[in-house]
């Protein structure tokens, strides 16, 4: 049992893993911000052009959401990191992970915002337009605030999933928590660094998972 919690190995592993925490958090926060912004932008575009001559654009956005829902994030990451250089696009591991996670979350977020928007009663649009608000104003002042309420629990959950998916970046040599633990493990031939990393993930994500669960019951989306 001692081998799993060897204090010397743990002490030696800690500085690397601590620096990994910074990278994990940095990657998580930037990808989540970019993904949510992308999703909100696309859903807004799709809502505003509904019924307009630009309709095919809405179809394109829906197709984007479908493709990135069907694509395993790791496959996307590997393609971006190992195939894109052949097209002259050299991404660092961090950039590749940021783009992959942002695109995947963007697709989910678009879908979540879109579901929220379409769930707002048509009568709300009509009431707002009948009072002389422009389409944009009606969307911003009337529809979006109601839609956001519905989107908070699922969006929180997708954001947490994105945070956890930062562990995938270890595959493309980003020195985040898992990557640090794996390389220290390789040097020390001890499972202790991995367990330390596991503990770090639990400390980071268990509170978030609990919050996600609480939000689901609180907003009662079923």
């Amino acid at each position: 049992m001692r081998i799993f919690f060897d204090p010397e190995v743990l002490a030696a592993a800690w500085p690397g893993i601590r620096s990994g925490i910074g990278v994990t958090l940095g990657l998580a926060l930037t990808s989540i911000a970019a993904g949510v912004a992308l999703g909100l932008l696309l859903a807004t575009v799709r809502a505003l052009i509904r019924g307009a001559p630009l309709r095919p654009v809405g179809g394109l956005i829906a197709a984007y959401a479908d493709v990135f829902r069907a694509m395993p994030p790791l496959v996307l990451l590997v393609v971006l990191y190992f195939a894109a250089p052949f097209a002259g696009i050299e991404l660092s591991g961090f950039m590749a992970a940021f783009v992959a996670l942002g695109l995947v979350l963007g697709a989910s977020a678009e879908e979540i915002f879109w579901a929220g928007i379409t769930s707002v009663n048509r009568g709300q649009w009509e009431a707002a337009l009948s009072t002389g608000l422009s389409r944009g104003e009606a969307f911003r002042r009337v529809v979006l605030p109601q839609a956001v309420r519905l989107t908070i629990p699922p969006l929180t959950n997708r954001a947490i999933a994105t945070g956890k998916n930062t562990a995938l970046a270890s595959v493309v040599a980003v020195p985040e928590v898992l990557n640090q633990a794996a390389s220290i493990q390789a040097q020390t031939a001890s499972p202790a660094p991995l367990l330390l990393a596991a503990g770090v993930y639990v400390a980071l994500f268990l509170p978030l998972v609990r919050i996600g669960r609480w939000l689901e019951t609180r907003f009662h989306i079923r």
């Binding site: 479908d66 590997v78 195939a83 052949f86 579901a115 954001a159 995938l168 499972p191 993930y201 268990l206």
Partner: protein, 223 residues
């Protein structure tokens, strides 16, 4: 444009690596055949346990579920595949991957099935009890048939996630579709196998995404 094709969709390279990719695809399918039924089975067990347990039992189960969910699936996978050997347990790679991903995905199947059970009005339980049906018979014949139907889109959605998850197996050296594509890329020094693998994943999963849409599914599965 033709240069683009020669680089990313090179017919010669794709033909030569197709054998490798098909072997990888078969391993991916095997992993799915372990993870999806396994996840459903243990998820159903979890949902029943949470339904039947007294309040404190259900609460501790929900903490246990959340503890598992706090691990990124890749961390759980690496921990099990690289950690078990230190305990003297060395399962075959496919089984190790199967265990890790089943643990992960069964917590989601479990929560979905539990939500299905909870979606049924208490009056259905009362009607069944008033005719002398026991708890298990009520679950099996009255509650589950209705509850499962209510959460069918979510079950399909989680199955999609479980299949996507199997791509992680490549990280622990299981020769699955993604891994074989990387190998082929190395052999030919050309990314076409990787692109082909990505297209294969799409071909496999796009119909499932469309099906989920048809069922009225949400993208909002829990994390």
């Amino acid at each position: 444009m033709s240069e683009f094709f020669q680089t990313f969709l090179n017919p010669g390279v794709m033909a030569e690596s197709s054998g490798l990719l098909l072997r990888g695809l078969w391993v991916t399918l095997q992993a799915c055949l372990i993870v999806v039924p396994g996840g459903l089975f243990f998820g159903a067990g979890l949902a029943l346990a949470q339904t039947l347990a007294p309040a404190w039992g259900a609460r501790s189960l929900s903490w246990g579920v959340d503890l598992i969910r706090a691990f990124p699936p890749l961390v759980l996978l690496v921990l099990i595949v690289h950690g078990l050997p230190f305990l003297g347990i060395e399962p075959p790679p496919l089984l190790g991957v199967g265990i890790a991903l089943t643990i992960n995905t069964s917590t989601y199947y479990g929560e979905i099935l539990r939500a299905g059970i909870l979606s049924i009005e208490p009056t259905q339980w009362e009607a069944a009890r008033s005719t002398g049906l026991g708890t298990m018979a009520t679950l099996r014949h009255v509650i589950l048939p209705q509850g499962v139907r209510n959460v069918l889109p979510d079950l399909a959605g989680n199955t999609l996630e479980a299949v996507k998850l199997t791509s992680l197996a490549s990280v622990v050296a299981l020769p699955d579709l993604l891994r074989m594509a990387r190998v082929a890329q190395g052999v030919h020094f050309n990314p076409s196998p990787l692109i082909l693998a990505a297209l294969l994943y799409l071909a496999l999963l796009w119909p499932l995404v469309r099906l989920i849409r048809r069922l009225g599914g949400r993208a909002v599965l829990p994390a």
